[in-house]
């Protein structure tokens, strides 16, 4: 009997130990309730984000088959509007540029009479190396990796822009 402490003694000791104000039962349950609401709200936010982010996309693959090298005569810039790339047969070899304007994502077009790549949306212009020569575009057009596949087709990887220019000799 002497070992059993009353409720009053226990709460008194805790208050002494932690030197803080003891909360009442009502405050404790209010905090538990508020805390579980916050957890539920955060969970709902997370589940909503997951739900609205599609896990499977029916978009075109990043690696595309551009075609045989002889389809691209020397000195030409060829736009593939479907995949949004330029394949260029330059003096140093084949290379590819992304055709999506770095300003706000419009599809650019090759203007042979100007020897420039031009964006119809806000007037950005690039030369055939992707360097911006006019307009609001903040970045040059990205250089994309090109290689010759075993079947003789030129392949382009749109997912990984190159840091340094690379050319493919055929």
């Amino acid at each position: 009997m002497s070992n059993v402490k009353t409720q009053e003694q226990t709460t008194g000791e805790i208050a002494k130990d932690c030197d803080c104000k003891d909360s009442s039962r009502r405050e404790f349950f209010a905090k538990v309730g508020m805390g579980s609401l916050i957890v539920a709200a955060a969970g709902t936010g997370l589940f909503s984000y997951e739900y609205f982010s599609p896990n499977v996309l029916f978009e075109s693959a990043p690696i595309i088959k551009a075609g045989k090298p002889d389809q691209f005569p020397a000195g030409t810039v060829t736009l593939d509007a479907q995949s949004g790339i330029y394949l260029i047969n330059g003096p140093k070899g084949f290379y590819a540029l992304g055709a999506i304007c770095t300003h706000l994502g419009c599809l650019t077009a090759w203007k042979p009479e100007l020897d420039l790549i031009a964006c119809p949306c806000h007037g950005s212009r690039f030369n055939r190396d992707g360097v911006k020569v006019a307009g609001p575009a903040p970045q040059p057009l990205p250089w994309l990796k090109v290689w010759l596949a075993e079947d003789g087709n030129l392949m382009v990887d749109r997912s990984s822009p190159l840091k340094e220019p690379e050319y493919v000799k055929v």
Binding site: P54, H103, L104, G105, C106
Partner: protein, 247 residues
């Protein structure tokens, strides 16, 4: 002895059926008249009495009421357009063309929807300028101004999401540009664009998302906030009508 129209109307207003719907019944006392407003779910948002000057043209140019009118036209024509429009690629474009050339009155309804949308954006701005330059946003109406700012944003989002639905070149590139602007948000720009479009490019998912936003989520949000907006006019003491200057 033939009864006059007014007598006949009073008789109808005293029938049991009428009284179950409109509890205030007939009578023209101030009490009856105020009850007729208070006991109607739509009218109770508004004041029972307003100063006659508040009904004049000059304090408001009726811009808020005109905005509401365009919104009603947009709801009515929008619902009708939904009967022929499939939010899928490339059917959406064909449906839009069908509305123009095949569906009876389709071109009228589509154009009415489009012109009302343009008018609504214009009227919302005009309404806000009018409120701002009259100083009607000041206390005690500052909260209603904030509600109005959110209504402006909803109006612009409705306009933007509706712009994609014809699925023509203009729509496609406008949304490409718009979603790339959203990408410029610091830190989470890419995620915002991905959620907006339901993918990395403007495609079937984007069309469906914009359709749901345009036809369900944004109109519901607008209706809710319009309700608050009108109710607050009463709660904030009616329209802002300064005393007429003595000449």
């Amino acid at each position: 002895m033939a009864t006059t129209v007014k007598e006949e109307f009073d008789r109808i207003r005293n029938t049991e059926v009428w009284r179950t719907i409109f509890r205030s019944g007939s009578g023209s006392s101030n009490l009856h008249r105020s009850q007729a407003v208070q006991q109607n779910i739509f009218l109770h948002l508004f004041s029972v009495k307003v100063r006659s000057r508040a009904l004049d043209f000059s304090p408001t140019w009726y811009l808020g009421a005109l905005t509401l009118s365009t919104f009603f036209i947009l709801i009515a024509t929008g619902i009708l357009l939904m009967f022929y429009y499939h939010p899928s690629v490339p059917q959406a474009y064909a449906d839009m063309k069908d509305l123009q050339f095949v569906v009876a009155s389709g071109v009228f309804l589509r154009n009415l929807h489009r012109w009302s949308a343009h008018a609504m954006v214009f009227l919302v701005f005009a309404h806000m300028f009018k409120v701002f330059y009259r100083g009607a946003y000041r206390p005690p109406r500052q909260f209603n101004w904030v509600v109005g700012v959110f209504l402006l944003l909803i109006t612009l989002l409705l306009s933007y999401t509706g712009y994609l639905l014809p699925w023509d070149q203009l729509a496609f590139w406008a949304v490409t540009v718009g979603s790339n602007i959203a990408k410029a948000v610091p830190l989470m720009g890419k995620q915002i664009r991905f959620l907006m479009l339901g993918g990395n490019e403007v495609n079937a998912n984007a069309l469906l998302r914009f359709y749901v936003l345009h036809c369900v989520i944004l109109p519901l949000a607008a209706i809710l906030l319009v309700g608050v907006h009108f109710w607050r006019i009463r709660k904030d003491g009616g329209l802002y009508v300064p005393e007429k200057k003595k000449l």
